[in-house]
Amino acid sequence: MLSIGGQDLFVLEFGDILHYFSPYTLTLFLLAVLFTGLAIISRPEEQIEIAFGGDAYYAKETTLPEMRFRRFMAIACGLASIGAMVSGDLFNYTLFTSMVGITNVGIVAAVKNRHVLNAAYAYGIVAMIATLPLFGSAALIVATTGTLSIPALAAGGQAVPLVGKALLVLGVVGEGMAPFYAAKAEMFRAPGAPYVIMCSLSSLLIFLRVVEIVTTI
């Protein structure tokens, strides 16, 4: 399959499920692996904050249980991103994408701070609503074409409805938009750069992959 990401390098088969590696998907896959590795081996930083109304400053520390949970969520988020980058099945891609949304909520929601928890709540609602167009797109595409295999759809035998592609993009925007939505509260108030970075990275990766998918199928 010649996609806009370049000629396929190789295809990894799990039964009837395909994972294909083009120069584009391989690049995204390697970056997801790299940042997941960084989330595993890095410890959180201590954010320096200026005390309001004075010239004192203090360092915020992350407790061990919080660090463990956020690291677990960051690793899960990384694994979901890895799956989404190379999946050759549209339904699997939507599953991985929704998992990215859930784990992103987890990374944020573990912080015991009112502002951050408010952001996580709003964040969770956006991600939850976005699953409707996300899975709806997969349902619509399988109903009209009879397949969810990206290589089969890319072969051009069946016309993928434009509304199916639009819903897919909308769903991914919803799942991926959540970190932008929560960015301010989360990043300003909560330490934990190796985990926060997974929120941004996973969202960006699913955006980049959906561009390739909708232009290929």
Binding site: F35, I197, L204
Partner: protein, 281 residues
């Protein structure tokens, strides 16, 4: 392979030096010598290097290596004529790298730089609808196909000028001292770069050089096609000087204004894509 990296980084740093010199001359200042950025990179290589006590040490160091790795990959993508979608992916991932640089130190200045990087991504990324305009005409996003298309039909600069303007603005967004340089503007010291000193800063300078070279080289190839190498270098310099003029006469916008202006441009580009979709058979 390594010689390509060294030459590209050195030429990119020279371009950044020219950028500073042109800005200074327009502002009636003598400015630094054009090789100042190369000297900076060398100087930082021999300065003392440390990791702040508050930093996430692994991420603090690892992100520097990631920055070099992604722009080295971008250089080879362009040289190999591979998909410009990969180049765009790398450009976007640079936002994550800036974010990582900023947050990993624990410094409030770095943190603000990192957050601004993510916020500005929301407006900068959609500028890449420019590739849709290119795809309408070339039917491919492989750089070698785009170059081949221009050999037959003429430069894309004349066929899709709005796309060239959008890409020009994308490059402008990444240049220092520009109107959209909110991630490293002076009110937050050096933004995401603030705490990276010594060898880390030297590596960051090399990354900046590579990034400048890759973006300008890709711009010339995508919109003007295959030309003699010396002419490509000359055109890259000319594009950069034009960008320097823009940077010299415009202030750094506030983060809100920066995102608003970029979003308006993105809206105009989307309208143009809609127009193309309507009229191109």
């Amino acid at each position: 392979m390594i010689e390509y990296l060294v030459c590209a980084a050195a030429f990119g740093l020279l371009l950044l030096g020219i950028h500073r010199k042109v800005i200074a001359r327009i502002q009636m200042r003598p400015g630094p010598p054009v090789w100042q950025e190369i000297l900076h990179a060398l100087k930082f290589s021999f300065k003392s290097t440390w990791v702040p006590r508050t930093a996430s040490a692994t991420l603090f160091v690892g992100i520097v290596l990631v920055a070099i790795a992604i722009w080295s990959a971008a250089l080879f993508v362009v040289l190999a004529g591979e998909s410009i979608l990969i180049l765009i992916g790398i450009y976007m991932l640079h936002k994550i790298v800036e974010h990582g640089f900023g947050l990993s130190s624990g410094s409030p200045y770095g943190k603000f730089g990192g957050v601004r990087s993510v916020i500005s991504a929301a407006s900068e990324i959609p500028l890449f609808v420019t590739i849709t305009a290119i795809y309408f005409f070339t039917g491919s996003l492989l750089l070698r196909d785009i170059v081949a298309y221009q050999a037959v039909h003429g430069p894309l600069l004349l066929i899709v000028p709005p796309a060239a303007i959008a890409m020009y603005l994308v490059i402008l967004s990444k240049l220092p001292f520009g109107p959209f340089s909110i991630v490293e503007s002076k009110e937050i010291v050096s933004g995401y770069k603030t705490e990276h000193f010594g060898v880390w800063r030297a590596a960051l300078a090399v990354t900046d050089g590579l990034k400048t070279f890759v973006l300008l080289y890709a711009f010339v190839l995508i919109f003007l096609g295959a030309l003699p190498f010396w002419l490509i270098l000359a055109l890259m310099t000319a594009v950069l000087v034009s960008l320097s003029f823009v940077c010299a006469i415009t202030p750094v916008l506030s983060p809100y204004d920066s995102v608003t202006v970029q979003s308006i441009i993105t809206g105009l580009m989307l309208a143009y894509i809609g127009y193309l979709w309507w009229v191109v058979p």
